[in-house]
């Protein structure tokens, strides 16, 4: 069952490469949160009950509901609809995400050491690299934060891939979520939008020599 969720997660990454609308980004993030819940539900049933509940709450409450709701609020506040002109055309982005997936698959096979879930690792690594790529190709700080959340979801999956012996690491991933959602999103995106009347990164280039 978990394989199905892993495949679905990989498909969401391809959809991220395909999409140009900010609303779709938010939906995809919510879907990723739901998929991560599924992964946790079907794979981590042997861990301590307290950790288990904590992780479930994190995926369903934070990733699937709170963060998308908050992002949507920010999107409306800044009247964002369509992400204009990413640096790389959509077609190339799809090819890039597939290439990253292939490289990740080869890498996880190479690094496999028995204690690692290779399928989780493949998709987690793809998510992290793709998140970085997503940040680079978009000119908008809202999309940059979406890219960061893709990285963060990848890290969550990675902590499941390698951290099953250490639930504290999984909890730490949650900490990263909360800091991220509350502070970076809450305090600054709106402030940037209000000050510069735009969320384009080109406006954030006053500081130079």
């Amino acid at each position: 069952m978990t394989y199905l969720f892993i495949i679905l997660y990989a498909i969401t990454l391809i959809y991220f490469a395909l999409s140009e609308r900010t609303k779709k980004f938010i939906w995809l993030l919510a879907i990723q949160g739901l998929i991560l819940f599924g992964v946790v539900f079907f794979s981590l049933n042997e861990i301590d009950i307290f950790d288990f509940i904590f992780i479930l709450l994190e995926t369903i409450i934070v990733k699937t509901m709170v963060v998308p709701w908050f992002l949507n609020k920010v999107r409306k506040h800044n009247q964002l609809k369509r992400e204009h002109e990413p640096y790389v055309p959509v077609f190339y982005s799809i090819i890039v995400v597939i290439l990253i997936l292939m490289v990740s698959f080869l890498l996880s096979s190479y690094l496999n050491n028995g204690n690692m879930h290779t399928q989780y690792f493949t998709v987690a690594f793809t998510s992290i690299i793709f998140g970085g790529y997503f940040i680079i190709i978009h000119k908008n700080i809202f999309s940059n934060v979406v890219g960061y959340l893709i990285i963060e979801n990848g890290i969550f999956l990675l902590s499941l891939a390698v951290g099953s012996v250490m639930p504290i690491m999984v909890n730490l991933a949650i900490l990263l979520d909360i800091f991220m959602a509350v502070l970076i999103l809450g305090l600054f995106i709106n402030r940037v939008g209000d000050t510069f009347k735009s969320l384009k990164t080109e406006y954030l280039s006053k500081l130079k020599d």
Binding site: M166, M169, I184
Partner: protein, 474 residues
């Protein structure tokens, strides 16, 4: 003990934040500083003992905690002057002090953390807290710098997290079920070298944003530029020490493995690239605070070279870190005074400072003698030892390359400083609102004297602390 300190600090911060009364803020700030100094002394008295499973009073932590205690006192004093000059409201003042106290608490937690997970969480907390202070002036530039600092540091720290995850995996394969640093050191030899290499690279990249080291050094430079001068002093010193400590903790683990030579080569490359980037950027710099920020990049590069060189380089790297902290903090404190006269940080607008403020000018001169590692500065001793280590340990080409780059750096900085001190005073300068307390330079002279004294005649407890810090590498 530390847990009590953290709870006590949080109560103090909340009281300052909620009550917003000037007298209470001043009183609680002094109590906080006394409590922090007490923690440093107590940690020294209980050296190498565990405070809890997550915290330990080890030599490096104690040393950096002492540096933090000293610089906290000076930073609070200069913050008081800064806020007084800018006539801020009680609410703004309370927010500033509350954030500063929490930042110091988070840094203390990072210094004493004996568990990589606690260390990581503390570093994340410092990022969030310092961003409140960087944004303090609420200008467009402050917003830009804060956004970049928060975003890039968060991405960087996320990568460091991946490094720690990989470390946890390879530790888990060898039966370790927590991330205690001493536990990791004890099983270091058994860990998979490939995963260790990946972990180190990710942690180095991630924490380089905090240490102000290549490749993620740019965010720290922007933060320096816009933050209030006392906060720039903190970012450039104690906060960079947090980044160093995080990298050093991972370094102590890999130092017991077969990959140590590879790791040291990586540090040599990173150190060399940091000095190179600082040299390039300094050639076109036209803002004083950015110039100091790139100087910090250069010094952090030299610290990385010390670790990369090994031998006496380990000792010299920590020595350099301490001296750089005192000197750079003095410079940033003085920047507050310079800004009072010229109302600008741009190099072209700032000249003839010696005529306007002779005591401040003298302080600037001593600061630059010290930061350029000219004798009798303690930084001369540490840099000399690092170059000695590079030559002794068969890295002569690295040493020569760095020496050449340093020549360019010294020339550029000296040119700008001579302009600042001795050129003609700009025409039409308005001195009406200049509020400089004649005693505020004392803190800089005290810190600079400390750099000279500790360099020429270091007391036994100081050298013991550094030797204790590097003893874990053997």
């Amino acid at each position: 003990m530390l847990l009590i300190f953290f709870i006590f600090s949080i109560i103090l911060c909340l009281s300052v934040f909620l009550l917003k009364k000037k007298i209470i803020t001043n009183l609680l700030s002094k109590i906080f500083l006394a409590a922090h100094s007490f923690i440093s002394i107590n940690a020294y008295l209980k050296i190498n003992q565990f405070d809890s499973p997550y915290y330990k009073f080890d030599s490096l932590a104690v040393l950096l905690s002492f540096v933090l205690s000293i610089l906290s006192v000076a930073t609070f004093y200069h913050s008081y002057l800064y806020l007084k000059r800018h006539k801020v409201s009680k609410r703004q003042e309370a927010n500033y002090y509350a954030a500063l106290m929490m930042l110091i608490t988070a840094m203390t937690s990072a210094y004493f953390a004996e568990n990589l997970a606690v260390l990581w969480a503390s570093v994340e907390a410092t990022t969030l807290l310092v961003s409140i202070l960087i944004f303090y002036e609420h200008t467009e530039e402050a917003l830009e710098a804060t956004w970049k600092y928060l975003f890039i540091c968060s991405v960087g720290i996320a990568f460091a997290f991946i490094g720690i995850l990989f470390l946890s995996m390879t530790a888990g394969n060898n039966g370790l079920t927590n991330l205690s640093i001493s536990g990791l050191i004890s099983i270091a030899k058994l860990m998979d070298p490939l995963w260790l290499k990946i972990s180190f690279l990710l942690a180095l990249t991630g924490f380089s944003a905090k240490m102000g080291l290549f490749p993620l050094h740019t965010v720290a430079v922007d933060a320096h530029t816009v933050a209030p001068p006392p906060i720039s002093a903190f970012i450039s010193t104690t906060l960079m020490n947090v980044g160093f400590l995080a990298i050093y903790r991972i370094f102590t683990i890999v130092a017991h493995t077969e990959i140590i030579d590879w790791v040291q080569n990586v540090l040599l490359i990173v150190g060399l690239l940091s000095v190179f980037m600082a040299t390039i950027q300094l050639q076109r710099v036209n803002h004083f605070k950015r110039m100091f920020a790139f100087s910090s990049l250069e010094h952090m590069g030299i610290v990385a070279l010390g670790l990369g060189a090994g031998g006496i380089g380990f000792y010299a790297a920590i020595l350099h870190l301490v001296f750089h902290a005192f000197t750079k903090a003095s410079l940033f404190y003085q920047v507050g005074q310079i800004h009072q006269f010229f109302k600008s940080y741009w190099i072209k607008d700032v000249s003839g400072y010696f005529k306007l403020n002779p005591v401040g000018g003298l302080s600037v001169l001593f600061c630059f003698i010290s930061i350029l590692a000219i004798p009798p500065s303690g930084l001369f001793v540490s840099e000399f030892l690092i170059f000695k280590a590079l030559f002794i340990n068969n890295h002569p080409f690295v040493a020569i390359a760095v020496l050449v780059l340093l020549s360019f750096i010294i020339y550029t900085i000296l040119k700008n400083v001579l302009h600042l001190l001795y050129d003609d005073v700009p025409v039409g300068l308005n001195f009406e609102n200049v509020k400089v307390n004649q005693y505020e330079t004392i803190s800089q002279f005290v810190l600079l004297s400390l750099v000279i004294y500790l360099g020429i005649n270091p007391p036994l407890f100081f050298t013991n602390l550094i030797n204790g810090a590097i003893s874990v590498l053997n």
